[in-house]
């Protein structure tokens, strides 16, 4: 009996829940303290937007919405490590990452407000739209990464997927092809412990979700997903590796879904309030705020001020969203093919004309 292969999965963390650094100093990626403040602002903006979106849904002004409460460090940590030219493939909850990449708040609202125009991003033109069929976006990212590689473009594709989504065939297929072709692909598994009502442990017998990467021969690493310092470090490393032609990585971000699954869900039906309460102790904003304040980089008054500014910006976006006239019904024909086939002209006319 001999050993054919051996592996270990590392866990990375820097910032403790109480806001203290675990190590001696900040990780290398931090170029200036101001960088941390900027990222913290992004996280706060995300949270402002998110709570506003939930409120809009509650008052009937938005359809079902999936909150990203508690995911801010994972979203901002990863997205901030990307280059503009890279590609982001989200599922539906990565609001923080989308905003960071330049998707406009109104676009996100339009999408959840039942308007396809929300996926016609004005700025984040490299990125893929929200992808509801779980984990299928991982393969779009893999195929895009293959295109980058074939064309020798120094670009990286980053896909987000949930703990639940990491059970899905498409996720395995993506990591398998990432390994087979040594693709510049980073798969970020946001392990927020729940897939609607199904807990993480019911999804798989694996000790970590990161180790799924081993099935494809990928780099595989676990990180405290509530720790911006750690997430950004791990993401930056994986993205650089990918860009330099060294292949793909699976990153498991350990975090917690502090909200219901969506506004259509009631999590009290299936999970313990105590668990949620405990998770609030570890949430990502608080610890970073504590750290920044401790270091004299941020203050309560700046917090208040920035929150106000966030709310104002969000309100503007909300207004823009609410004022939008519905799209013409004929859009459903007009964007179906590059050119409408003759066969469908009659139907389009019927839709348009008086019935």
């Amino acid at each position: 009996m001999s050993v054919a292969a051996s592996f270990s999965i590392e866990y990375v963390e820097h910032l403790a829940a109480d806001g203290r650094l675990k190590g001696e100093r900040l990780p290398n990626w931090v170029e200036s303290p101001q960088q941390l403040v900027d990222l913290y602002r992004h996280m706060l903006f995300t949270r402002s937007f998110d709570s506003k979106a939930v409120a809009l849904q509650r008052t009937g002004k938005l359809g079902t919405y999936a909150s990203c409460l508690g995911h801010e460090a994972s979203h901002v940590g990863v997205a901030s490590a990307m280059h503009v030219d890279d590609l982001l493939a989200v599922s539906y909850r990565e609001i923080g990452a989308m905003l960071m990449r330049g998707v406009r708040p109104r676009e996100i609202l339009m999408y959840w407000g039942g308007d396809e125009r929300g996926s016609c991003f004005e700025q984040a033109i490299n990125d893929l739209p929200i992808c509801v069929p779980i984990a299928t976006q991982c393969l779009h990212a893999a195929g895009s990464a293959l295109a980058f590689k074939l064309r020798e473009e120094p670009r990286v594709a980053v896909a987000f997927v949930g703990d639940g989504g990491s059970s899905k065939s498409d996720f395995y297929a993506a990591l398998n092809s990432a390994g087979a072709y040594a693709l510049p692909l980073v798969l970020v598994v946001v392990n927020n412990q729940w897939a609607i009502s199904v807990p993480r442990r019911a999804q798989t017998g694996a000790q970590t979700l990161a180790q799924k990467g081993l099935a494809g021969g990928l780099e595989s690493i676990q990180v405290d997903g509530n720790d911006l310092l750690a997430v950004r470090e791990v993401a930056e490393h994986a993205i650089k590796r990918a860009r330099n032609g060294h292949g793909g990585t699976v990153i498991e971000c350990i975090t917690y879904r502090l909200s219901d699954h969506t506004t259509a869900d009631d999590a009290r039906r299936y999970r313990d309030e105590a668990e949620v309460k405990a998770a609030w102790e570890k949430e990502p904003m608080l610890r970073l705020r504590r750290y920044l304040i401790e270091q004299g980089l941020w203050s309560e008054s700046e917090e208040t001020e920035w929150k106000q500014e966030c709310n104002q910006r969000v309100d503007e976006e909300v207004n823009a969203y609410l004022e939008l006239a519905p799209p013409p019904a004929t859009d459903m024909f007009d964007y179906l093919y590059a050119e409408l086939p003759d066969d469908l002209r009659g139907q389009r006319a019927q839709l348009e004309g008086p019935r």
Binding site: V132, I134, P327
Partner: protein
């Protein structure tokens, strides 16, 4: 006996048959403690335990494949697809295996399974949550395809589906899950799996439909009545195998037929009914057949979805055309 909704009738049928037959089990995403995202399996895990009501990992390929395997061992799994837009990864296992196992083993192995699929649009749901893809299944030999449109039929047909020794795709029109209540005796009486239901008699035109559009058709019939047009309304209920005799008999009397469904028109199951009319009822028809359907587009996100779904107006207009063109 309290009146219940369509979805409550589904739950009632599941509970009845689970109590009646120890081989019946329920599996799917969130069907356990949560009772399903539509609450179709609410209370079942509490009552029958987590060995009978099983949450699955989040993978539709897994659900379909496990369901085939369970059924091969003589279990009677009732799997749930969370929404119709998520059934596509299940097709391979359903078509290549469930639908073929009896035939390809000459009866040695069989797949007595049910796949429940909340179906159709009109509930302002997110993207990929409003599909009507029954036509993917109606060209598949070895499957049965059922689509009830009332609490009573949901109860009776689901019982029949579970008891059937072959695989059944059971679509549930989610728009009318809670539309109205009716009394549904919990008597374990199944309905036949190959019968169309004449819901309203008429002499001028036959409206043939299934699922949520039954509502629109009945409303259209009311409206047409006031114009002096008498419309017969048929709920197809089981698409495969098709009880074409009931439709043909009606059209033999009315001479006119409007087929209504919310799936896209081209290649939809309405085509099959129209085709059979062209084959078998040609000489009975006095006017061209009409189809009122979802457009040949994707069902739009919800700001536009009501412009996509067949409306009472479109149905009435089609019925009137059949009167004018005869």
């Amino acid at each position: 006996m309290a009146a219940i909704t369509l979805i409550e009738a589904v739950t009632q049928a599941l509970a009845y048959e689970m109590a009646n037959d120890g081989a019946v089990l329920v599996l799917g995403e969130d069907v356990g403690v949560n009772g399903g995202v539509f609450r179709a399996t609410a209370g079942l895990q509490q009552r029958f335990g987590d060995q009978r009501v099983i949450d699955t990992p989040l993978d539709e390929t897994t659900i379909a494949g496990l369901t085939v395997g369970l059924s091969l061992q003589g279990m009677k799994p009732v799997a749930e697809a969370q929404f119709d837009g998520f059934v596509y990864p299940m097709l391979d296992q359903l078509i290549c295996h469930a639908a073929r196992m009896r035939n390809r083993t000459r009866g040695r192995l069989t797949c007595p399974l049910v796949l429940r699929v909340p179906w159709g649009g009109g509930i302002r749901a997110p993207e990929h949550h409003s599909e009507a893809n029954e036509a993917m299944f109606t060209n598949v030999p070895g499957l049965r395809v059922v689509l009830p449109s009332s609490p009573q039929r949901a109860y009776g047909l689901l019982l029949a589906a579970i008891r059937d020794p072959d695989p059944v795709i059971f679509f549930e029109p989610k728009r009318i899950y809670r539309q109205y209540k009716e009394e549904v005796p919990d008597d374990g009486e199944a309905l036949p799996l190959d019968v169309c239901y004449v819901l309203r008699d008429g002499i001028d035109v036959t409206l043939v439909t299934w699922g949520a559009q039954v509502k629109e058709c009945l409303e259209a019939a009311e409206k047409l009545e006031s114009d002096g047009i008498s419309a017969e309304v048929i709920d197809v209920a089981t698409l495969r195998p098709l009880d074409f005799a009931t439709i043909a008999e009606s059209v033999a009397r009315t001479g006119r037929c409007v087929i209504v469904h919310e799936a896209p028109r081209t290649g939809g199951f309405g085509a099959e009914i129209a085709a059979r009319l062209a084959e078998q009822s040609m000489f009975d028809l006095v006017a061209p057949v009409e189809r009122v359907t979802g457009w040949d587009t994707h069902i739009p996100l919800f700001r536009l979805e009501m412009k996509y779904l067949p409306s009472v107006e479109r149905i009435c207009a089609a019925a009137r055309r059949t009167m004018e063109r005869s």
